[in-house]
């Protein structure tokens, strides 16, 4: 954090705030793309209410010389694009925060700098150019080469290049004339040039992806070829991205009439041989639940990308939450195997899309990738996901079968019986929502019912072998263990940069829980569960399965993610 005005130490954070429609996010992303092009790592975070114009939107990002796992709460440069958008952020300011805003608003923390943005915008001839003007100011304040910034503007805004370049200049010149005392020289990361050279090789983290886009790339690289979704924040980013790429990749992307149809389409496609997935959030997933159960019964493998937000009901559509964990695990009526995996960051969103598709094919049962708004709509430095290779596993598919094919052959150790796809000669079988015999024909015979349920249940053991294992980070010899899952991973890792007396167990497969978790937990004197929910859903799970109670629980459920500073304070 910015301690002196001379030199920025490890990282710095910038935040833009203003009403919707002012280009808060697009402007902020321009900042991030700029610093990324200089070789900085970054992680951003946006807040916005569920409306199209007005309100209070923010974009913030932390930039660092080392990998940034999560955005910081404390801001070094704050820009209010319209008056009246800074007071609510005073807790995020430190004594040296530069707070830029039109008109003097009394701000008790930080250094307030009056910036006549409305005047400068009208000079630029565009009332919506405040974001680019601020970009010009930042470029000057951090003593950056103008040409690199302007070429980025031309690249990002290919339509209104000219007006944006004018706005940039106005900001840059204004800062030159008025803000010289705040200027400092930003040390460009040494690896920057190296990073540029390697960016095409995909080795370093030089790409810009939010979780939704990362998932979409994982889906594409994992040979996913059928994606259905009904728009629902915060999952829609994946739908938009895949729809725009559908022709290039020759895949089917559909937006059906409702979530029930969405999931039903995906079931049909999976049956016909597609690598099939749906995307939604809690409310839409509620409507899809009947298909989760149906997939369990008919042994059709498909992927549910569930991006959670606070509920119940409509809840807070544009905010984050982990409260749907148990709902995902116990979704669908009846008893059947299912797998719930939760990515911890953007890179894992990519990985788990393909792993999820693989598990669906390998296990022939519903697979849920449980993400949340914080990962899905925040961008971070990743490898070049469009070029990253993955291992595709289609499970047991037979190309030829003999007559009287036993699709649901119960002589199987893994619980999985080889399938064939429609179009295969002699393979005609029935995928049945009713209990059925080994051919798929409806049966309510008492022996058949038990045998089939036992066969399907075996898949849960197989899942423990195939699904992502838990990961242990931090100081493994420490006395204290943090236990968490999902998007908290990055925040905890960022906090651990400042804390050396903690180990951190990231549970990546939430169902079925891996047996090693119990052993790991027992090794530590103190255990702390961290979750973004009111009632600690993971705590409930560990208690009921392992009779385990943590020493402490840190919970947050106001729709906002944890910030590293908060965790450091609570853990100390």
């Amino acid at each position: 954090m910015l301690k002196s005005n001379k030199m920025i130490k490890e990282d710095f954070s910038i935040k833009l705030a203003g009403p919707a429609g002012m280009g808060i996010k697009s402007g902020g992303q321009l900042f991030s793309k700029f610093f990324q092009s200089l070789g900085f790592y970054f992680h951003d975070y946006t807040e916005y209410p569920s409306l199209v114009r007005g309100g209070h939107n923010t974009y913030q990002a932390t930039y660092g010389y080392q990998k940034v796992h999560a955005p910081h709460q404390k801001i070094d440069y704050f820009f209010s694009l319209k008056p009246g958008h800074c007071r609510q952020h005073q807790n995020e300011f430190h004594p040296n925060t530069l707070v830029f805003s039109d008109k003097k608003n009394p701000v008790s923390k930080g250094k307030f700098i009056n910036l006549p943005l409305s005047q400068l915008s009208s000079q630029a001839g565009n009332p919506l150019s405040a974001n680019i003007i601020c970009f010009g100011i930042i470029a000057f304040l951090l003593n950056q080469d103008k040409s690199q910034a302007t070429s980025l503007i031309s690249k990002v805004f290919s339509k209104n290049t000219k007006t944006n370049l004018i706005a940039f200049d106005i900001g840059y010149i204004y800062a030159q004339q008025n803000l010289k005392q705040y200027q400092q020289t930003l040390k460009i990361p040494k690896q920057a040039n190296q990073a540029k050279a390697q960016s095409s090789a995909g080795g370093r983290l030089t790409s810009f992806n939010d979780g939704n886009q990362a998932f979409a790339y994982g889906f594409l690289q994992g040979k996913g070829n059928f994606y259905a979704a009904y728009p629902m924040t915060p999952s829609s980013g994946t739908l938009h991205f895949l729809a725009s790429r559908a022709k290039d990749y020759n895949i089917t992307v559909v937006h059906p009439e409702d979530e029930i149809a969405t999931a039903s389409l995906a079931v049909g496609a999976a049956f016909a041989g597609a690598r099939s997935a749906v995307g939604t959030s809690g409310g839409g997933f509620a409507l899809m639940n009947e298909t989760v159960s149906f997939c369990g019964m008919s042994e059709i493998g498909m992927l549910y990308y569930l991006v959670s937000r606070p509920g119940p009901a409509t809840g807070m559509p544009t905010w984050t939450s982990q409260s749907d964990l148990l709902y995902a695990i116990f979704s669908g009526h009846g008893e059947f195997p299912k797998v719930v995996i939760a990515p911890g960051d953007q890179q894992e969103s990519f990985d788990f899309a393909n792993i999820g598709l693989n598990l669906a094919d390998q296990l022939q049962t519903p697979i849920i990738v449980l993400s949340d708004k914080f990962i899905a709509e925040s961008s971070a430095s990743t490898t070049d996901l469009s070029k990253e290779k993955v291992i595709v596993n289609r499970g047991k598919i037979l190309n030829s079968v003999t007559k009287n094919f036993k699709r649901y052959n119960w002589i199987t150790r893994s619980g999985v019986s080889p399938r064939c796809l429609p179009g295969t000669t002699n393979g005609q079988f029935l995928a049945n929502s009713s209990e059925h015999n080994q051919f798929g024909f409806s049966s309510d015979d008492s022996i058949v019912a038990v045998k089939m349920q036992q066969k399907r249940a075996k898949k849960l053991k197989t899942a423990k072998i195939l699904a992502p294992k838990p990961r242990l980070f931090g100081n493994k010899q420490a006395d204290s263990l943090i236990i968490s899952w999902g998007s908290n991973k990055g925040i905890i890792l960022e906090a651990l940069k400042k804390l050396d007396n903690f180990a951190f167990l990231q549970i990546r497969t939430l169902w079925p829980l891996h047996d090693s978790i119990k052993k790991t937990i027992k090794k530590y004197k103190k255990t702390i569960i961290i979750e973004n929910s009111q009632t600690s859903r993971l705590g409930f799970l560990l208690k009921s399965l392992f009779s385990f109670s943590p020493t402490a629980t840190i919970l947050k459920f106001n729709g906002r993610p944890f910030f590293p500073e908060e965790l450091i304070k609570k853990l100390k």
Binding site: F226, E257, A261, A270, F271, G273, A274, N426, L430, F441
Partner: protein, 208 residues
Amino acid sequence: MKNQIYNYKSKVVPTWCPGCPNFLLLTGLQQAFAKLKIPNHNIVVVSDIGCAGNISNFLNTYRIHSLHGRAIPTAIGVKLANPKLTVVVVVGDGGAYGEGLNHLITAVRANYDIKVFVANNHLYSLTTGQASPTTKTGTKTKSTPFGYALKPIDPVPLIKSVNSSILVENVDSKNSPKLFKKITKILNHQGFALLDISQICISFGKSL
């Protein structure tokens, strides 16, 4: 030899009541598949639940016995994933015009290339006789002991009003030669086609 009627029959003996009009639909489909020489491994029949939905047990094609109301979207998924397959839906009046009406309208608007056969007996039969979306107003059923209060859905004009280029026809199952002809016609059509088959439930529909 390959495309004889018996090739489209499964080993399972139909569980319908003796004399049920569903037998005519089953035979009609098997005849039409044979006549049109569609290999059984290239056909996917997606059935709803209920009496008509049980047809998937009696056919020897690829089949999905799907969930109530969802046969149409499930079939669309199959067709989109593999357009080479002949995709057929068999559904009752409850699944087509009640639980799944939203899906039917969308399929009609999109003109997806699936063939829908509605066994419309104006009643929920496997659940022992409650009112359906096509039950006549005033009819007393188990769920409407004082008479059905709603206006029945008239499927053909409803569907035509949504997309007039769609092939949608009505037939009475009592006229089996006509039924058989129409089944072939529907299967032969390019694009979405629906045949609404008026039936009588011989167990619970005698009073209709």
